[in-house]
């Protein structure tokens, strides 16, 4: 017997049931529509999972990053007062002096600039120097032995037992260094490390005037100590004297912050992939709802209210959105096991990937929100579907409510801003990101509309039929032009931007090594060595015009304001590093071609000895610290105070390979001061460079040589390693674009199947149908790739001009490869889709589609 428990209408459970029933013949399609968001969710879940794992690993391994409980470091030796203070702290102590120096591998004769770390004591107190053989990390400290970075050893085909010359002493290689606290793959690439015992440092003769040595004192507390409280008590004294204090907590905070930023950056790229997917979802749901008009009209006719009809499809979308997000979250969780491998050279700690339930939860939530948000506009149109469509399928409901659409778009913008704010944590940059996304989408949409308009307006009526049909497919109703151009175009744009920026950065370095530009710099030349080194250089065939003298000094005050008064008055524009850094200053009577006076007048020679000399400052340094013409700057020139007046501000082209200076003295002031020299020249080949370095280092082991060819290699490696991660994420966006492409093509399959079958029925050949498809997708792929490349060029040009201050010269080969690749991929997917239509009898296809 029929009973009525709720005469007012169906329950929510029934709406769910109806949603499930209605999805019966569409589940695979619905899943396909939603699949566009899977990769985006996977990207975000994997990045967040990795960030979570990294955070906990940094917390766990923070002590090993520092190697001690407390570190006092600076670029000068601790003075007596601070030395006593350091000696009174902790239970165990170690010291380190680190500096760049040349290492000469005697067996191969290879020489290279390395970072020498001279150790005394049991550093590291946390973690270890991982070496092969394992005991070398301890044993080298008692002998005249060194540990050599693995990459460096491989570069010179060295092995344990070989000898290396550092300064004037030779050392036996005790072991190959695999890892040390705080060392990453990147730091090894930039400055390979050699550890040596500190007691042999005097014998090397490397600790001499002009050497840029960083001094560090490592302190370990064996007894329980309030390190934070201690730091609070001593930090003013230590930092006031220009030294840095590092604790485990501070290091943990700083490392976490750096990698949080990396994580957020990667999340934003993942988010762009997700947004691309959302365009696919919105477009697919739009088509889906349009196909459901008949069903919705019947339901309305039978008595379903507009809200009930809306809820049925909302539940469907949420269910499949949830499913897609779940698959995405699972994929992301699996992917994060690969990310540490991808990022191994950048990560400061070893990371063991773990399932992050928080990341999975937020991925699921995000997937649900985003599938709802981007399906909302087509879903809301359900409310306007009239029951009259049961009587007349061609019945057109009233046009949509503009206010509601506007509201939905505003919600989307708010969501994009909100998500980017959660990543960036700053309102304005989040707004810029949102604007960049919107502008990119608008440009791509504009191009799509322009393409449709152009094809329609200048339609080549005289062309063969397959061309006309293929081109007409671009603009006729239910075309995929807009959605494909946006999804593939944005993916291409991201990918190309990364390529372009990488080449801009490499070009900046490469430019310096081409033509007649100097490409080798010899520094730390003592006054007594100058003539001999110039002679060696000339003998080696190098063109040497002379050396540049360098005097080291510190700034003690600006208009009587010193570091103490700066600390007390925070309103002053100067920054503490102005006083803490060591200035390497030169003197000459003329300006170089790379220097231009912007304010004041350059005085080449100090003539009036009764007045303070007029010096020239780099304009950026002056601007950042509020220093003006006429200000008095007092320097401590190796113990002697020297007052100077700012006579001019100059612009310096820093990207020229030559010795550039923040502070320039006129001739006649510093000639008598202790100084060292730098020599800049050019070598024509790697062999010449190796020969020259060997000759100089053999004669004068204390000097350091930078070969810009090597720097270029290092920068390339660096960019490759960082760029690889970004390229990986950009490829991710491309992959999402491809999924959207596949989904869109499949949607169009359902829409166009009847037409293709009709064409087949009335006699179109297999070849003609495939040609029509190929032309349509070739146009789509070509336009999407072209738009993406143009967008990337625009963005890279702005970055080159505004950020990198260089001219933008795109590399055409990668561009052509990307363009061809995108076109081929688009055509291949489009053609694969048409195979079903052309390979089966028309009636069979029609029966399946109905």
């Amino acid at each position: 017997m029929i009973t009525s428990s709720r005469p007012s209408g169906p329950s929510v459970a029934w709406l769910f049931k109806m949603a499930w029933r209605d999805s019966r013949r569409n589940r695979s399609r619905l899943f396909l529509f939603i699949s566009s968001i899977i990769l985006g969710i996977a990207a975000l879940v994997s990045v967040q999972s990795l960030s979570d794992s990294l955070r906990s690993e940094i917390e766990r391994q923070a002590a090993e990053l520092v190697g001690a409980d407390l570190v006092i470091s600076g670029n000068k030796a601790l003075n007596e007062d601070l030395g006593k203070l350091a000696d009174s702290l902790g239970d165990r102590r170690a010291s380190q002096k680190s500096f760049p120096s040349m290492a000469l591998f005697l067996k191969s004769g290879g020489a290279r600039l390395v970072q020498v770390r001279a150790l005394e004591g049991d550093y590291p107190f946390y973690g270890q120097l991982k070496t092969i053989p394992a005991n070398a990390g301890r044993s080298f400290r008692d002998r005249q032995e060194i540990l050599v970075d693995k990459g460096l050893l491989l570069q010179f085909n060295g092995e344990v037992g070989d000898t290396v010359q550092l300064g004037m002493t030779t050392f036996r290689i005790a072991g190959m260094l695999e890892s040390a606290p705080g060392q990453t793959g990147l730091t090894s690439a930039v400055a390979p490390v050699i550890f040596m015992p500190m007691r042999y440092l005097p014998e090397t003769g490397l600790e001499q005037f002009g050497s840029r040595i960083n001094h560090a004192r490592y302190i370990k507390f064996d007894r329980k100590t309030d390190v934070a409280g201690l730091v609070e008590r001593i930090e003013d004294r230590i930092e006031g004297a220009g030294y840095e204090l590092t604790t485990i907590e501070r290091q943990q905070e700083q490392t976490s912050r750096s990698f949080r930023d990396v994580g957020r950056f990667l999340s934003l790229i993942g988010f762009v992939a997700l947004l691309l997917g959302c365009i696919g979802v919105a477009s697919a749901i739009h088509v889906y709802i349009r196909e459901k008009i008949g069903t919705i009209a019947i339901l309305r006719c039978l008595g379903a209210t507009s809200q009930q009809a809306f809820l049925i499809y909302l539940f469907q979308i949420l269910t499949f959105g949830g499913l897609g997000s779940m698959v995405g979250a699972m994929l992301g969780s699996a992917l994060q096991f690969y990310l540490p491998v991808l990022l191994k050279d950048i990560l400061p700690v070893s990371v063991e990937a773990r399932i992050s339930w928080q990341a999975i939860g937020s991925g699921l939530g995000l997937g649900l929100i985003i599938s709802l948000l981007f399906a909302l506009a087509p879903l809301l149109s359900i409310r306007r579907i009239s029951p009259l469509n049961t009587l007349r399928m061609d019945f057109q409901s009233d046009k949509g409510d503009r206010l509601t659409s506007l509201f939905v778009y505003l919600l989307m913008l708010a969501f994009i801003w909100g998500f980017s704010f959660l990543q960036i944590r700053q309102a304005l940059p989040s707004l810029y990101f949102t604007l960049a996304v919107v502008v990119s989408f608008l440009i791509l949409a504009g191009f799509a509309r322009l393409l449709m308009w152009t094809v329609k307006r200048f339609f080549p009526s005289g062309w063969p039929y397959v061309w006309r049909q293929g081109l007409a497919n671009l603009y006729r109703p239910q075309n995929q032009t807009l959605v494909l151009l946006m999804s593939i175009g944005l993916g291409t744009a991201l990918f190309c931007t990364v390529l372009f920026i990488q080449s801009i950065l490499l070009d900046r370095v490469r430019l310096s090594t081409t033509g007649a530009q100097p490409n080798i710099v010899v520094f730390d030349i003592q006054e007594s060595q100058r003539d001999s080194i110039v002679a060696i250089s000339k003998r080696q065939g190098l063109n040497v015009s002379g050396t540049v003298p360098i005097v080291t000094m510190r700034l003690t005050s600006v208009n009587q304001i010193d570091i103490d008064s700066l600390r007390k008055d925070t309103s002053l524009p100067m920054r503490p590093w102005l006083f803490n850094r060591e200035y390497r200053v030169t003197f000459r009577d003329t300006l170089l071609a790379s220097e231009r006076i912007k304010k004041g007048e350059w005085t080449g020679v100090w003539k009036d000895q009764t007045k303070a000399p007029l010096i020239s400052l780099e304009e950026g340094l002056a601007k950042r610290n509020g220093i003006k013409l006429g200000d008095t700057l007092t320097f401590d020139v190796q113990g002697a105070p020297m007052a100077t007046i700012v006579g001019s501000l100059r612009q310096v082209e820093w990207n020229r390979i030559q010795t550039n200076f923040l502070v320039l003295f006129p001739a006649g002031v510093l000639e008598k001061a202790p100084k060292f020299h730098v020599l800049v020249s050019r070598v024509e080949s790697q062999e010449e460079s190796a020969r020259y370095q060997q000759a100089v280092v053999k004669a004068f082991p204390n000097v350091s040589i930078i070969d810009l060819g090597l720097v270029l290699d290092v920068v390339s490696t660096l960019l490759d390693k960082i760029g690889f991660v970004i390229r990986f994420m950009a490829l991710y966006c491309m992959a999402t674009g491809v999924v959207v492409l596949i989904a869109s093509v499949l949607i169009s399959k359902y829409q166009r199947m009847r037409e293709s079958v009709l064409l087949r029925t009335i006699g179109a050949s297999r070849r003609q149908i495939l040609a029509i498809t190929a032309i349509e997708y070739l146009m789509l792929g070509a336009m999407a790739a072209l738009t993406g490349i143009l967008l990337a060029m625009g963005g890279s040009w702005i970055l080159a001009e505004q950020v990198f201050d260089t001219a933008f010269r795109p590399q055409w080969m990668p561009v052509i490869s990307v363009f061809t690749g995108v076109c081929l991929l688009t055509v291949a997917i489009g053609m694969a889709n048409s195979r079903q239509v052309v390979n089966r009898p028309p009636l069979e296809v029609l029966r399946d589609a109905s």
Binding site: M1, I2, T3, S4, S5, R6, P7, S8, G9, P10, S11, W14, M18, R21, D22, S23, R24, R25, N26, G294, T295, I298, L299, R300, C301, L302, G303, A304, T305, S306, Q307, Q308, S386, P387, L388, T390, L391, R392, S850
Partner: protein, 233 residues
């Protein structure tokens, strides 16, 4: 007998203020409960539009329609949906079954929309009456046109409507199936005591009803009570 449907000076126009197309012009009639009525006329005469208005699928531009005592024009779309669900049954020319639901589920939907429980046996009874009990789990695509229309008739009677609107119910069927559908429609209608309004241009089907309202150019050109003729004959 009570008036179940009252159409009072109804007009319907489409288009903009500049280009109005008047599809129905001052239609006026009443239908008594239990009557069988045919609305006939050539294509474009406004039959389907009139059916849509009477069934609350659309609103008239002028005039008013009362169905079972309820004034339809004062209701919003969702309120009219409820009226359709509780008082009206539909049979369409192209069947309009929900493609993703089985035959049985299609019959149950109007009752489920009312929130009724234990409806399965009632729906099965109806399917049995139209001779499709053994096809209950079949989807529309697995049924022939005639079978689909029989499921549609079972669905139309499932919510025990006061009035049933049929739009060209045999328009897409062959002679044999048409005969079967007509018989089912009239038998079930008689059995349930429902009012039947059929829109058709099939004179044979129209002749089986008790009253024929003929439309042309959006106007009623004749309104014949054929039951008295049949009685007198």
């Amino acid at each position: 007998m009570d008036t179940i449907l009252s159409v009072s000076h109804v007009s319907k126009s489409y288009g903009t203020a500049d280009h109005r197309l008047k599809v129905l012009d001052d239609i006026h009639f009443d239908i008594l409960a239990g009557d069988t009525v045919a609305i006939i006329g050539p294509s474009g005469s406004g039959k389907t539009t009139l059916l849509g208005l009477c069934a609350g699928l659309d609103r008239p531009t002028e005039g008013s329609i009362r169905l079972n005592g309820i004034s339809l024009e004062s209701l919003d779309e969702d309120q009219r949906a409820r009226v359709r669900n509780q008082h009206i049954g539909f049979v369409f020319q192209n069947f309009q079954l929900l493609p993703t639901l089985t035959a049985l589920e299609n019959v149950m939907v109007p009752m489920e929309l009312q929130g009724l429980k234990n409806i399965r046996s009632h729906a099965m009874d109806l399917l049995s009456k139209v001779g499709l009990a053994n096809r209950q789990d079949h989807y529309p695509v697995q049924l022939s046109g005639g079978e689909q229309q029989r499921v549609s008739i079972a669905r139309a009677f499932s919510n025990q409507p006061r009035i049933l609107f049929a739009d060209e119910p045999t328009g897409n069927l062959d002679a044999e199936n048409s005969e079967l559908i007509e018989r089912l429609l009239f038998d079930l209608n008689r059995e349930a005591g429902t009012t039947l309004v059929v829109v058709t241009h099939n004179p044979e089907l129209a002749a089986k009803t008790g009253r024929i309202i003929a439309l042309k150019g959006g106007k009623v050109i004749s309104d014949l009570n054929t039951s008295s003729e049949k009685t007198s004959n």
